[in-house]
Assembly symmetry: C2
Homo-oligomer: 769 residues x 2
């Protein structure tokens, strides 16, 4: 794999301007702060290939569904996060020529994402058509401290001429979503105003009435001295700009600082939006770029303190994992329980920015371990608050009595997706949502969540499973028919092992929680039972289903069978496929993929990962050795699970191979689709690959377990873990494992099957076997 | 079931104007002649609900595919028959008020489809807003003798006033397809011309360059006398009209005769189109309405002589079957091997007018028995000529060596449909195309078809089956995975019994044909083998697959199992369903339908029908008794097959029930969808229900077999059958069966297991058991 970006422990560095790669870099160098984010578009005009994207979390549009053949139950709308006001724009004219990198000769181009301090910088020398040569240095960031604020420092030095320089900082609401189903625009202008050094644009979505407001202000220096030239105002439909013109001599440096505040009616009352954004922009300007950058650096330093993974001896792996952690922290900060994590974060429009099971299955473990309890709790509350809609959704599909089916893709709790085999059948997602509750309580020890919120969700999901399972007289067992498992290269199958497993697990866990509460919180339990009209014969029914669930298995290979009939397929291994067929999703028709034995992503293995404690190593190994060679990993969510299990069974080489595939997926554009945006949610999987894979970290029976190993050419690997109030600093090399408990809370640990008890600030050192 | 239309043996009669029912009547009263057709729209303006539709056979447009989630292998286009120039229009103004039934008071409204003579007539009295009262009588038909010609006689009598009457006959190319995927228009104007009493419009499709030209001329009489008022010309985009204004007194009758010629570049060179349509319209005018109507009546009398079914004692059944036969004869005449039969004929736009397996599975038996050999042969040649495209289609899906997969829906041989579970998986259609060849040779005895055309198709289809079957080591059998059988309420199943059956049957039949030809036409066979690069080891392979094919079955019930795992479903019967759930396709979400045991249409039973001779009565009965109660018949193609098998096993009551459901499907708007068009292809199934069901007609081992029974309250049923050159007139009552061989050709017959030999004009009378 060739590295387009330079290897560096803390930075992503692009050297040289390659316009063909620009859209990929726009994804890679994206910035965000959990409330808004944007692709790394240029500030100045650019007429080359570019997907200009600015996104405000939670501001979405119900785009009318596009469908070939309608099926009963499809949703009418696909809610998608909107591309919104372009606030970074600064039109630049040099002696009346517009600066546009597609139209001039560019040298010494360099783009750097400084992940340590959280900013994007860019520098280049441009020779314009008229021979004028300039040097540009820009730096921008979206403030982690002030969620509405984005700032830009943009400097131009005249290298070989004297003449007129014009800056026109602007705000432009004439934006479209490139994934709009019917080429519609989604914004109406509400108001705008251009005053010298202070302008704003307020827009409203054509449906749902989300209002967003963007205000900008700016200041200029010439050779370090503040100047305040006369401003020419310009207004157009959804557009405002300020133009300043400055005469400069050769070697003069002109800098513009643009301060922007963005917010929406999700946070402030509509009549206040203009005033608030103006004030916030004005305060930012008063505080100044330097102070804001210092804040930013400090905020990121705090993030890194909690969530960094340090890998010594492998810059590529170090850069990869930091890039993943950086993107995750940019995307979701856990401040707002109404927000969630789209598959592309703020880096692109694909998948509409909706919430998928990725959140529960991949992101929750990351945030649980690396951020305050509240962050994961807010992700859980997001689903709790959508429970009513999930019950409605299930009702639409014929379920009753408060059964809930959470949507495959959602923004506000309503289903957005319209592929029957996914929307209606990929129901294992419901299990992941239950599992996340278990995971949260397991990590945090916060049992109050169960009676305040968790059990209500668990009961509704268990009701769904109980109704979705049917009794087969033929098998004399309960079966779950017509599903799509995590492996989406099988559709509408019967008895997907993973689905049957997580269904029963959910019911059993719900029963456990009910038992626990009946002992410890019986009054609250009774209230809840009454609220959701829970009858004890449901318990009897669930127990009956759990006891009598059918699980497909194959005696010959001693494995859990992915689904009924899987062994009727021609059993070919990925390694025996002609390479020209790979990826099969780009080379084979869909039916051919479906009837092949090839697996898109961990399915049985996903289940074994979740419920690992139930299986002995031999069983895990048999299943891994059977399924891994049949898995094409054409989902970015796959290799990380395989890393973890390969590590578990001691297949260290495979674990490392899979990790490489996961960790630099976007940086190396492995799937040739990074220009659509980064694979943000799967980045959490990469984190899991390191911590659960190489670190061998598990939580079982309230105990933190560690069984680390380090890949051959790594010197050391270290990361931190928050667990039940303790903060552990974990570092392992080829020889030893060091664990320091960084705060007061004592903790039980199991390392290589030996028990340890660590009180505050204890440092434990264990020799690796 | 309430009858909206009056019961009559030869006519469909609507009495009273019900605007809510208008679109249904527009479908029901449609006219056609195999080359063009139209919905029964009004000649005069109508601002109420209406789907105006004029269609020219074979003139289609590649409309860009609409799809929610693209799957590899989907076609880029959906070719659809185009709504084309509205040629029936006559704008009528009475004292400067436009006649529009939606805007006046209407009485004595009557619409009659005279099926015996092939015309549509309409009469009503209208009182306009100004109080003017008129009586209108119109009659129109599309000539069966002159395939380009349509004529209209439209008369107005002034009932209570004197004043000015204006007729504006027009041609209007400003038409859209209501099923257009992206609301695009498909026509460009090429030229037009309005001269007094003679105008034309020539259009071209925006893609594929189909040219169509429509010319009109007209004449007027007043109280029986020809008049020739001055004409005002009017032209617009794709529009021409002639306006004449006549002053009339109370009780005057003004009649306009409009003669129109329509044709396309499929039949004439583009530069000739205007001249030819003008000439044809002019000749029609010269010959006059009366003579043309006489021709029409004669042509239909000939059609009825060959294809009528007479049912005595049940007007409803009589009307139903005649309506079905009338529509079939209007839709396809078998003159042009490039044409085929869309599911809605010329009565609507749904399904795009494309060719489905309906043609081979349902229509071929009708045309084989009721029309000259050439008609069915042309339907076969249609597929023969598309063989290259079918091979390309299979190649796109990964098949090789000349394997062919005929499209699910097509116009020119390319696949149009884009639902993966249908397009890629409902592959049994390939078998129906092979079976049609067998059927044709079986009925006609024309074995030359096999070596001229048939075998090439059979080899290509057999190659597909041989590649599509895979070997299951688990089962030690060949399996066919990932298919959708005829029952589309199951998708992506393994080992659909019907599909496995017809796959092996096709290979076996192909082998039989090869054997036959190696004995009788070995030179031709060798040439063909060389042409398609046929190797004898393919024979070995096919025999191996046929011998080792897996057929799912259920021991407990002694039935062929629809597919693997069918018995794992909850076994509920249709009769036990709450009625509010029916039809399930309107009340249940798609996944719920899929995992239910309910069957949309005959599936195993379809196979038993095709290969009946292989099964004893007990086996047929066991399968029928198992599957019938689980079948919801939500495909119009289902009840007829059930009628036939019910008749076979002596379940006469069920046979009659199913027949009722089939025969008046559109007349009684049973499925509440007739406004989209009639179920034209399934009408052939109704014919099969009578002839193969009640008539018990089969062809086995070159012998015609008859085992008739008559429903309780029918007095007699008679029909004709062409078989191997003989023309049999068959009539049966409760007591006897009469068979008269109407021409010279002798024939072998088996009636109630007794052999008969009928030479020309022999009359056989058999007492019914």
């Amino acid at each position: 794999m060739k590295h387009y970006y330079e290897l560096d422990e803390w930075n992503i560095i692009e050297k040289g301007f390659d316009s063909d790669n620009n859209e990929i870099s726009e994804s890679i160098f994206s910035l965000g702060n959990g409330f808004m984010g944007q692709r790394a578009n240029f500030e100045e005009d650019y007429s080359g290939n570019s997907l200009r994207g600015n996104y405000i979390a939670g501001v979405y549009y119900p785009d009318k569904t596009r469908v070939g053949w309608w099926k009963n139950g499809y949703p009418e709308y696909f809610a998608k996060v909107l591309n919104s006001t372009n606030w970074i724009g600064i039109n630049i004219r040099i002696n009346d020529l517009t600066l546009d990198l597609a139209k001039c000769s560019v040298s010494e181009f360099k783009r750097v994402l400084n992940m340590k301090e959280g900013y994007l910088k860019r520098s280049f020398v441009a020779t314009l058509e008229n021979g004028n040569e300039i040097e540009v240095n820009s730096k921008r960031f979206i403030s982690m401290e002030r969620c509405e604020i984005g700032v830009i420092k943009y400097s131009i030095r005249l290298l070989n001429f004297s003449g007129k320089l014009e800056f026109s900082p602007y705000l432009d609401g004439n934006v479209v979503n490139c994934d709009s189903n019917y080429d519609e625009t989604f914004w109406d202008e509400i108001s705008k105003g251009a005053k010298p050094y202070e302008s704003y644009v307020m827009l409203k979505t054509k449906k749902l009435d989300f209002h967003i407001c963007t205000s900008m202000t700016f200041e200029l220096t010439k050779n370090g001295e503040t100047i305040k030239p006369i401003v020419t105002l310009n207004e157009g439909e959804k557009y405002v700009s300020n133009t300043v013109s400055v005469d400069c001599y050769k070697n003069d440096e002109l800098i513009i600082y643009k301060y922007v505040a963005n917010t929406s009616s999700r946070y402030y009352k509509i009549p206040e939006l203009i005033k608030i954004t103006r004030e916030l922009a004005s305060i930012a300007k008063k505080d100044g770029f330097g102070m804001l950058l210092e804040e930013q650096s400090k905020a990121w330093s705090e993030k890194w303190r909690e969530s960094d993974i340090v890998i010594k001896g492998d810059v590529s792996a170090q850069q990869g994992i930091r890039f993943n952690i950086f993107q995750l922290n940019q995307t979701y900060t856990g401040e707002d329980y109404r927000l969630n994590i789209g598959p592309k974060g703020f880096t692109g429009e694909k998948y509409g920015g909706g919430t998928y099971w990725d959140t529960e299955a991949y992101c929750i473990p990351f945030y649980l371990s690396t951020a305050k309890e509240k962050v994961s709790k807010n992700l859980l509350l997001y689903r709790y608050n959508q429970l009513g809609k999930a019950i409605e959704n299930a009702k639409k599909l014929g379920f009753k009595n408060g059964a809930a089916l959470y949507p495959m893709v959602t923004m506000n709790g309503e289903e957005c997706h319209n592929e029957w085999e996914i929307t209606f059948e990929e129901i294992h997602r419901n299990g992941a949502i239950a599992y996340a509750i278990y995971n949260y309580v397991n990590y945090t020890g916060d049992k109050s969540y169960l009676y305040e919120f968790g059990l209500e969700v668990l009961i509704a999901i268990s009701r769904f499973w109980a109704q979705r399972a049917t009794f087969s007289s033929k098998k004399n067992k309960y079966v779950i028919l017509g599903v799509t498992g995590p492996n989406e290269y099988e559709n509408n199958v019967n008895n997907n092992w993973y689905t049957n497993k997580i269904a029963c697990w959910t019911m059993q866990y719900t029963l456990n929680v009910i038992n626990y509460l009946s002992e410890h919180e019986s009054k609250t339990l009774d209230e809840l039972k009454s609220k959701v009209n829970f009858k004890d014969d449901e318990i009897v029914n669930w127990i009956n289903i759990i006891k009598n669930m059918y699980y497909p298995h194959d005696e010959e290979h001693g494995i859990f069978l992915q689904q009924d009939g899987y062994m009727d397929k021609e059993q070919i291994l990925v390694k025996d496929l002609d390479k020209k067929n790979i990826p099969i999703n780009q080379n084979w028709s869909w039916d051919r993929i479906l009837r092949s034995c090839f697996i898109k992503q961990a399915d049985v293995l996903q289940g074994i990962y979740l419920f690992e404690q139930e299986y002995d190593i031999a069983t895990i190994k048999r299943n891994f050795d059977f399924y891994e060679p049949r898995t094409v990993h054409e989902s970015s969510l796959s290799p990380c699970i395989h890393t973890i299990l390969a590590a578990k069974i001691g297949n260290h080489e495979k674990a490392y191979d899979m990790y490489l595939r996961a960790s630099r997926l976007d940086l190396d554009n492995y799937n040739n689709d990074t220009k659509d945006g980064c694979h943000t949610t799967s980045m959490a999987g990469t984190w899991m690959a390191v911590v659960h894979g190489f670190g061998g970290l598990r939580v079982i029976n309230n105990k933190l377990i560690l069984n680390p190993f380090i890949p051959d050419h790594w010197c050391s690997c270290s990361f931190k873990i928050m667990f039940r109030g303790a903060l552990l600093n974990i570092k392992f090399t080829k020889e030893t494992l060091q664990i320091q408990n960084e705060n007061e809370m004592p903790i039980n640990l199991l390392v290589y099957e030996t028990d340890y008890y660590l009180t505050g600030n204890d440092l434990l050192e264990v020799k690796l076997p």
